[in-house]
């Protein structure tokens, strides 16, 4: 018999922010059809309005606990935090896009709608507690991004970016599905919490179930690692970042990473949590694997970034390196007792990364010319004179990426390194710290070009109000988090992911 849940069982209110975004995006599709051509300029603002509503809803329901859609959707502080981060990212990205898509001639209203759907996917990545839902969310996150990457068509670089991202992304999705299937085979469920609970059974039996579970988690790590740009699954990143429209790159550099890590945290802490807590051998292997990937990612990201002359490519490698720093905390999270501390550290890192990276991309968007040029390192020469405020903000973003105190980046690194030191991963932290010094070299190059090099700055066109305010928000966010980290930790400290499951 077909089981039809009642509305009460669905508990829609728990998922209010996500539902608001979904519904509003669908409404906008229709509004877009009805609006006359001259009024299409309203769409981005309508999108921002809907997202702001969702953001307020997310903040108001932040500490609510509940589940919706029969356990497929989980509302808790973890979901709440990531909802806030994703919605901020989406709002800022739209503000940064408005003028840019107009002047580069890629304006189509679908742009904003696709962006909203992708944001919805990211939110669902954080809140899904079922492997099937995570997969749906993953696709919802990815498919609009494939389209957006190619939005600059017929520019061959943008088309290449879209196609490359799509093909490799589809491949990564396949890894994820295969992993999910193995986990289902091993445990007989796709619900993360039931996977957690089945740990005892899996470990006891002498069957290959344990192998399937661990292999499944590994394959899912590959699939999500691709989205989050973890080495060695990162090779798409520079090409896509270079070719895709910069406003899209800004959105996905933060958003895709958010989504990838959100699901990865749920899988690593909840689904794998049971096995990791009970079996020291597997725990060590898992921690070793994550540490290795973290070291590799930090190493490749920072080292290759040095060679880049194109700032978009440089930021692509920087985003790889940042994925590595986050992985360090994820590795630390395998140590019993540190699961929640690791999750909180990652959340803090993500929000510092959000403001800093979006801010840096906002400045790149200001500098970029209509034909896509103007994003080389040399194009920053003289910016300190021609646009003092803009250059100053960029300098702060770069210092934040290095991790200099008083900026958000320092707080993020402090959180991540702190939990890793607590877990005893000193060698890994020392390595990451050395690579941070390397990163200081290439981030500082932008500052050198803006301030220390003599030369006439090229005229930089007015960026328009929306983009300017987006940059201000990122700037204020970067400094505010750096100076008053309690603004963030007050929220992140409420997050309990793994310990909530313990009896």
């Amino acid at each position: 018999m077909l089981y039809i849940p009642t509305l009460e069982q669905l508990n829609l209110m728990a998922a209010l922010p996500a539902i608001a975004v979904a519904a509003w995006a669908c409404v906008l599709v229709i509004v877009d059809l009805l609006l006359p051509k001259s009024r299409k300029g309203l769409i981005p603002w309508l999108a921002v309005g809907g997202l702001v509503f969702a953001l307020i809803a997310a903040l108001l329901t932040f500490s609510d606990n509940g589940s919706a859609f029969l356990g497929m959707y989980r509302a808790d502080a973890f979901t709440g935090f990531l909802n806030v981060v994703v919605l901020l990212t989406a709002i800022l990205s739209i503000l940064m896009s408005i003028r840019y898509v107009q002047r580069t001639g890629i304006i189509r209203s679908e742009y904003y709608i696709l962006l909203m759907f992708s944001a919805l996917g990211m939110m669902l990545m954080a809140s899904s507690t079922d492997l099937v839902m995570i997969f749906v969310a993953l696709e919802l996150l990815s498919i609009p991004l494939y389209v957006l990457s190619a939005f600059r068509s017929p520019d061959p670089k943008s088309e290449e970016a879209g196609l490359k991202y799509f093909l490799l992304g589809a491949f990564a999705s396949a890894f994820f599905v295969f992993g999910a299937a193995l986990v289902y085979g091993a445990t007989g469920t796709t619900q993360l919490e039931l996977v957690f609970a089945s740990a005892g059974r899996v470990l006891e039996s002498n069957s290959p179930h344990l192998f399937y579970l661990v292999a499944g988690a590994g394959l899912m790590l590959v699939g999500l690692g691709f989205k989050a740009a973890i080495a060695p699954f990162h090779v798409w990143t520079p090409d896509v970042y270079e070719g895709a429209p910069t406003s899209v790159v800004a959105f996905m550099s933060v958003g895709a990473k958010l989504g990838g890590f959100a699901a990865l945290m749920r899988i690593a802490m909840v689904a794998m949590g049971g096995v990791l807590m009970n079996d020291a051998e597997i725990r060590q292997a898992w921690q070793g694997l994550l540490s290795l990937l973290a070291a590799l990612t930090v190493f490749i990201g920072n080292l290759v970034a040095i060679a880049q002359q194109n700032v978009k490519r440089m930021l692509a490698y920087s985003s790889i390196a940042n994925a590595g720093y986050i992985l360090i905390a994820l590795a630390a999270g395998a140590t019993p007792g540190l699961q929640d501390a690791a999750v909180r550290a990652i959340l803090v890192y993500l929000i510092t990364y959000l403001f800093t990276t979006l801010g840096a991309f906002a400045v790149v968007i200001v500098l970029e010319k209509d034909d896509g040029s103007g994003v080389m390192l040399d194009d920053f020469i003289g910016l300190g004179r021609s646009r003092p405020l803009l250059a100053f903000m960029m300098a702060v973003f770069m210092l934040s990426l290095i991790g200099v105190p008083l900026t958000a980046g320092f707080i993020g690194k402090l959180a991540v390194f702190g939990v890793a030191v607590n877990a005893g991963l000193i060698g890994l932290v020392v390595f990451a710290v050395i690579m941070t010094v390397v990163s200081a070299y290439y981030y500082a190059r932008i500052i050198v070009n803006m301030y220390l090099r003599d030369g006439e700055g090229q005229p930089v066109p007015e960026e328009g109000h929306a983009l300017r305010w987006a940059t201000y928000i990122c700037f204020v966010g970067t400094l505010a988090v750096g100076i008053l980290p309690t603004l963030v930790t007050a929220l992140s400290d409420q997050v309990v992911l793994a310990t909530a499951l313990l009896p």
Partner: protein, 516 residues
């Protein structure tokens, strides 16, 4: 500790910030106002720091003017500041040197070419804020914060307003010091997370009461590695030989004011850190490593003096004298006797004043002739007698002439180190040769620039000292003579704190001394 208001230490710390905020609202064209605000702020800060001195109770060896408020509660990190005898005079040195550095920048030629005065003075006050913060922070993370923040304004000051090779020097300075300090951050995290607090005094207390034990057996044991992580960060800053290679580049390329601050205060952050953190947190490891550090210090003393003598560029010469002089300071610290540490702290002040003064003299000559080569000068004694006279006093102080501050500092250090079981006679003798070498290179410098015949016609008509130049040199000369003639004014307030520190270190030290 319950405090309703702000402690005076906090007030002194945040006064430069007030000036910075005012500067933000001034326009670049109001150059005069910008300068006045910057100078006014730094002078007010200096006056407040004098109140600090007046209210300081020398017999109280614990922290004074304490303020503690949570900053990142989840990690137990707090805004925790306080002052004791070890840090009091370094705070005052900072607030004393900053107005001098600001005043000497007033007429600098570099602004005619590069402009951006507002940015310059903002960086200057930001730097003052961070430097004061380094000396009063009692929380390890807070200390690290100020420590790293000092890098940023100095990087920009060298990079924007420096000489030809400024970009290279600025980046080298930035990366070199950052590499050292990031390793310290790892050590700080380890120590703080193990102890459960980042407050330095609490950690020290936990270790004394045996609540926190950092094992020490061999080079790669926990305490030894922690010691090294801190020590290397500080050694780069001081700089201890062989970590000094950034220093000549940075000094030569930096504008005069930045050189003055770099020599006078930034280097002291390193030696202060050795006392506050290496000695207090890791007394046992410090004793173990002391002979090794002493070797480096003595090499630095002799090497710095030697290389300094070989220079033709005045700024490079003065830069290398820092390597030599700071060697004395480090030797004094790791001799771990109360006389030697008193001497080291005093010598930090002396070096700040006299080397700062030498950079001022070199900067004034450079403003007049636009060259730093000694061969371009000669015979200035006749053409610029006032400048020559003041330069002589500063030079004598730098070489440690009795009656000047340099003598008191070096003598006390050597006195302390000769009686210390950790350093002893050999090291002291070798270090003492540094005093002789100092006389050679300083007198050679003075002779080439001020004595002899006037070789270049341009030197006959050098512009007279401007009142701003006199206004910065006179306080320097006063301080040189004051410390030189009445050193006890300065040693008395720090002595109880130093004694308390030595008491903490002593148990470990006597153990070593009793070894067969």
């Amino acid at each position: 500790m319950e405090l309703t208001g702000l402690s005076l230490a906090t007030v002194v710390l945040f006064l430069p910030m007030v000036g910075m905020i005012i500067l933000l609202f001034l326009r670049e064209e109001q150059a005069r106002n910008i300068r006045l605000v910057a100078l006014g702020t730094s002078i007010v800060t200096f006056l407040f720091s004098l109140v600090l001195w007046a209210q300081f109770d020398p017999n109280n060896t614990s922290l004074q003017f304490v303020q503690q408020t949570p900053w990142i509660p989840s990690l137990n990190i707090s805004y925790y500041v306080g002052i004791d005898g070890l840090s009091l005079f370094l705070v005052i040195l900072t607030t004393f040197i900053t107005p001098i550095a600001i005043l000497i920048s007033w007429r600098a030629h570099v602004f005619e070419e590069r402009g951006r005065q507002k940015l310059y003075y903002i960086f200057m006050l930001l730097l003052e804020w961070a430097m004061i913060g380094v000396f009063i922070a009692q929380d390890l993370i807070l200390f690290y914060l100020f420590w790293e923040v000092t890098l940023v304004p100095m990087y920009f000051m060298i990079g924007i307003w420096g000489s030809e090779q400024r970009v290279y020097a600025a980046v080298k300075f930035f990366l070199y010091t950052m590499a050292g300090s990031l390793l310290m951050l790892v050590a700080i995290l380890y120590l703080g997370l193990t102890a459960g607090t980042f407050a330095q005094p609490e950690i020290v207390q936990m270790m004394q009461s045996g609540q926190l034990v950092l094992p020490l057996d061999g080079v790669f044991s926990t305490q030894s590695l922690l010691f090294l992580a801190f020590f290397i960060a500080f050694a780069i800053k001081v700089p201890v030989w062989p970590f000094h290679s950034w220093l000549p580049d940075a000094h030569v390329q930096a504008p005069t004011a930045a050189s003055v601050i770099l020599a006078a205060v930034l280097l002291k952050m390193g030696s202060y850190g050795m006392i506050r953190f290496n000695l207090q947190l890791f007394p046992d490891a410090s004793v173990d490593w002391a002979p090794f550090v002493a070797v480096l210090a003595v090499i630095g003393i002799i090497y710095g003096a030697w290389v300094s003598y070989a220079q033709t560029d005045m700024k490079k010469l003065v830069a290398y004298t820092s390597v030599s002089h700071m060697g004395f300071v480090v030797l004094g610290i790791f001799a771990m006797a109360s006389a030697s540490i008193n001497g080291s702290i005093l010598q930090m002040l002396n070096h700040g004043i006299s080397t700062g003064g030498l950079f001022l003299i070199v900067g004034m000559l450079y403003e007049r002739r636009h060259t730093r080569q000694m061969s371009a000068y000669g015979g200035l004694w006749a053409t610029a007698p006032l400048l020559g006279g003041i330069a002589l006093v500063i030079a004598l102080s730098s070489m440690g002439m009795p009656g000047t501050n340099g003598f008191v500092g070096e003598f006390t250090i050597l006195l302390g180190s000769v009686g210390s079981p950790l350093t002893g006679v050999v090291f002291t003798l070798l270090a003492a040769t540094g005093v002789i070498l100092a006389a050679i290179y300083i007198l050679a410098f003075f002779q080439k620039v001020f004595m002899g015949e006037v070789k270049h016609e341009e030197n006959r008509s050098l512009p007279k000292l401007h009142w701003t130049e006199l206004a910065v040199l006179v306080p320097i000369v006063i301080m040189i003579l004051w410390i030189g003639l009445a050193p006890n004014t300065f040693i008395a307030p720090m002595d109880p704190s130093v004694n308390a520190l030595v008491q903490e270190v002593q148990p470990a030290e006597t153990e070593i001394a009793q070894l067969p």
